[in-house]
Symmetry: C2
Subunit: 262 residues, 2 copies
């Protein structure tokens, strides 16, 4: 008989050790990130049960998602919105092309729902000025697939697994100051832990019964990688998980069930 508990996704931690991976060379468009990372990852190696957190920016670069800002010829909708927000029309055009819906556009802030279903500022588009030209970096087209591909390249190093790979980005949040890292791509582990209906040791019912475990692991990745050191990879050791995997989709709230998107 099937164990109904086996369908419950759960992520647990024993004692954890975690570190940023040093020594990844500069990654250019079209380069094989998974292969480039083998040597740096191999310095400490991977074990079964490890989770590798990868910042989306290095994935986006490898996948050729960096574009000159001037490539985004603003259409009328972007012109209007840019004027209202006090932003550059080309940047707003890029954000709108990455989005299926504007969630908020006010006080200079443009929050959209991306084609992936992510809700974040500027559709995750980062603007930068590298080598004199304005460029933008867009999110990977399919971060779950990016994570799956990296996982398959690193699996042998982890003795065949279990091994999980998370692609992270840094998102602001309603109500709270300070952005935190979340998981926009998930491979090899469940994204959520489902504690619904369970009770803790003292018989308390668990009021927050679904936990965004992959987001919490991505946040640990942010602490390790920082923002200044340019370290796009971190390894977290000591987690265990069970239950079905399903990419990052379980972390996306159905817009129809979201009281903040109505």
């Amino acid at each position: 008989m099937a164990d109904p508990e086996s369908d419950r996704p759960l992520v647990r931690a024993g004692p954890i050790s975690a570190w940023a991976v040093e020594g990844l060379p500069e990654v250019a468009a079209g380069e094989d990130l998974g292969r480039l990372a083998l040597e740096p990852l191999g310095r400490r190696g991977l074990l079964a049960g490890d989770v590798v957190v990868v910042t989306h920016k290095v994935v986006s670069k490898a996948e050729g998602r960096v574009f000159p800002l001037s490539a985004f010829e603003p259409r009328p909708a972007a012109m209007t919105l840019a004027a209202a927000l006090g932003q550059e029309p080309e940047m707003v055009e890029a954000v709108l092309r990455e989005s299926r819906r504007v969630v908020r556009a006010e006080s200079g802030v443009l929050i959209t729902e991306t084609w992936h279903g992510l809700v974040c500022a500027n559709a995750g588009v980062d603007r930068s000025n590298v080598g004199g030209g304005e460029t933008i970096t867009c999110l990977p087209v399919d971060p779950d697939r990016s994570a799956m591909r990296l996982r398959s390249q690193w699996l042998a190093m982890a003795g065949g697994g279990p091994l999980a790979v998370l692609i992270s980005d840094t998102f602001g949040r309603p109500f709270r100051e300070g952005a935190v890292n979340v998981a926009i791509g998930v491979a090899g582990m469940p994204a959520l832990s489902d504690h619904r209906g369970l009770r803790d040791g003292q018989g308390y019912e668990l009021h927050a019964s679904t936990i965004g475990s992959a987001d919490e692991i991505a946040s640990l990745g942010e602490l390790l990688m920082g923002k200044l050191d340019g370290l796009p990879l971190a390894v977290v050791r000591g987690l265990t998980w069970s239950g079905p995997e399903g990419g990052s989709a379980p972390l996306l709230r159905d817009p129809e069930r979201d009281i903040f998107r109505r």
Copy 2:
């Protein structure tokens, strides 16, 4: 001359090790949590630079913030809201007493701004059924002060510090499924890291320039403590920080600047 950078709060991580603390006895109202935790914390000890994450529930219990549900005689506003939401009037009364403002009340969900300025479901009030009677657990009255008091009790074990203590709770989030732990009380470290105006190793401007570091550490605490094991303490080793401390207040977005509270 003063270094202007010294005013910048920054939290960094080297390699991290982290674990849940086992062996804390059941804590009853009025008991000295800080003293009760000395022996369990002492098994592995504390070092300068450690961060201790404490779930709010054990703090609330020690501080006598557990009440019988029947103590909350519903007033008319609670009766009306409870009927609209399909919730129990006593529970809604308790939530309203803990709140200065209702942020959303729809689809069975009651999100308020607490007297602390936290925005969360049910003002952080947890309901439970222990020993046959319905009880509720409210957030600590002043979680920063609770964190400070615990820190002062544990400081000697950490050789006089630096030592930080975070009080955590599990909050749901707009747009994303899965709750995550955040820091509702902070002592001994800055709550945010401020990277504004800085550039990363590749010259990219940092688009998410203020990071909710204490929330990210609290999220790591959740992974370690889980929801089922009843382990209310975790230690994170390997962080460093600089800049001014200021409790948890820097994590609270000013309602006037919050486009999701208008």
